[in-house]
Symmetry: C2
Subunit: 339 residues, 2 copies
DNA sequence: CCGTGCCGGGAAAGCGCTTACCTAAGGAGG
DNA sequence: CCTCCTTAGGTAAGCGCTTTCCCGGCACGG
């Protein structure tokens, strides 16, 4: 691997001069030298060692992103937004998948700190584990304390700026739509219990139920893993526990799609016999049949806003919290019961 | 930011000793000192500067991945496989999106080289631009020359090991199925002309046509961008140019889904009036209606194999080329014409 | 013709860490 | 009891780069 010293030697100049030419430093340099150095760079295929540069001039350039799983469309969309903004700012993005393991999240914060990233963006639901939460929060604060910036998406109990989707309100809108359509026997496919996203969305649904003088008995709530297959299994459980269900609300689109698949395999008409509703409005929601009625969250935009917060807004003073509204998208998968 | 010197000072030892304790070096150290140092680490929330470590001990630990776009399900799946293997090897992954711009790919190779990554994995189709290809190849060779490892997915004209999906054969299988079902007026939605993936898949389709004594006139081939919306537009063009089409073969699933959406919006029955076939077997292929008949490529496995090649196989000697078979998956979207 | 100022370029320090090498102290062997 | 080896720990060099500081040479003004 060619080093700066190699280049300098070859061009017959000092490393200092070579460095100045390569980095376009303000210090003026004779044209002849410039050309010699540039030629040497080309001949040796020299690329500066980014680590050495970072060490010498502690100007952090990369940003870290911790998500549950990039290949999950929910995070893929968020990541797209994050990447776009990061690229606009000339930042390199290091993506870490926690695969929903809190401990791995902790490790990654440490690792990103070691990498001297300029900012850390944490995307994805928080956990109902106060020891863990405190631990994470502590690590983030330490990181912020040393000049790092942090933004979180979908959590609010942490250090740093936050972009929080209206999960509770989304759940409420879902419930409202269901009651408006006339459903009374509603099953819910919830996400993992440990996630605050699950709790928040469920709370919204419960609020809507209460306002209509009803409740959500626990036999009508099945917990799944936020993925398609466990969503299908949960739908089966729900149907077994409560054969008269006229609607199933899933707390994300993947599980709704799983429910759709199960219903189709059993020959149950959607929305004729059972309506199915999702949450998130992932791109595929409009392509399944029937197209999914769901709650839209502007995922890519949430990512973009979080990255913007992390990169541009001051770290001093109160952390900013940006609320992101949820919106009901009516498509074909929900209709009045028995119709 | 606390440094090793801070820790050493606080523990009353030399930086050397502190380093040895923190990194668990083989050199024996008294228990009392060990505890003091560890305590200092905890108190100062010390995290070693990864760049300084890398500089001092040139042991490359990160690996770079260049894809067209992670949020595209095709790459999301591949990336999942890549990540899994990388994590098993304790490697950090830096993901770069080229957004299908060759120049950006070039830049990223440079950037990853600067980051001293242990390996670079390039995923996604190659381009029909020999100047660019030579350029890229050259950069990769230079990188390999300095001890870097490279693996490419879906290209073969390059330095480094390769995992190549049977694109031509997949196209052939698609064609065979179409002719077997009895289709004769077949429209094709191709991907970007500049991509070798497009050419290869199309070539397979053409071979099947030839074997059945037919050709693929250019008015029956529409070029799109490998995404859903341009796929829908291409389907519309195809229908306009050739109203009697009984089948549309799309060269990836996203475009097939776009075609499905267009057909549905026009009230055209699939597969009753027009059959639709896809390529890749992305996860959503089974969830659209009708479920997509498509060519399966084991995407995640391709990613895993590429990362394995990059991380474990020798860089000396001939680069390895691993062929990945394509497989026809029959679902509901293709049927005999007119029935 | 000399002093002053400016400007292009080099020497060297230092970023935070690892590690080869060295040293002082203690124990074993003669 | 002295020498020599072992061992725990420290000293310092150096990884590849940037940047401050300095120096020599030139042009200019007096």
């Amino acid at each position: 691997m060619a080093t700066l010293a190699d280049v300098a030697r070859r061009a017959g100049v000092s490393p200092a001069t070579a460095s100045r030419i390569i980095n376009g430093s303000p210090k003026p340099v004779t044209e002849a030298l410039r050309e010699r150095v540039l030629a040497a760079v080309a001949e040796l295929q020299y690329v500066p060692n980014a680590h050495a540069q970072l060490l010498a001039r502690p100007q952090r350039t990369a940003v870290g992103v911790i998500v549950h799983d990039v290949s999950d469309p929910y995070f893929a969309e968020i990541t797209r937004g994050l990447q776009r903004v990061a690229t606009e700012h000339g930042r390199l993005v290091i993506i870490c998948n926690s695969y929903r393991e809190p401990d791995r999240e902790l490790e990654y914060v440490e690792l990103l700190r070691a990498q001297q990233v300029a900012a850390i963006v944490l995307a994805g639901s928080g956990y109902h584990d106060s020891a863990f939460t405190r631990n994470l929060d502590n690590k983030l604060r330490v990181y912020e304390h040393t000049g790092g910036r942090v933004a979180v998406i979908g959590r609010h109990e942490h250090a740093g700026h936050a972009v929080v989707p209206a999960n509770e309100m989304g759940g409420y809108l879902l419930g409202e739509e269901l009651y408006r359509l006339g459903h009374r026997r509603i099953g819910v496919i919830a996400g993992p219990r440990a996630l605050t996203t699950t709790t928040d969305r469920l709370a919204g649904l419960r609020r809507a139920a209460r306002e209509h003088g009803r409740a959500l008995p626990s036999r009508r709530v099945a917990y799944a893993e936020f993925d398609r297959d466990s969503g299908a299994a949960a739908a089966a459980d729900l149907l077994a526990a409560e054969p008269g269900l006229t609607a199933i609300a899933a707390l994300n689109d993947s599980m709704a799609i799983g429910a759709l698949a199960l219903l189709r395999s059993r020959g149950v008409a959607v929305p004729g016999e059972v309506s199915v509703l999702g949450f998130d409005d992932m791109p595929v929601a409009r392509d399944v049949t029937p197209a999914l009625t769901t709650i839209r969250l502007p995922l890519a935009e949430m990512g973009a806003r979080a990255m913007t917060l992390a990169l541009t807004s001051s770290t001093a003073g109160e952390p900013l919290v940006e609320q992101v509204p949820a919106e009901l998208i009516r498509r074909a998968s929900a209709a009045p019961p028995g119709g």
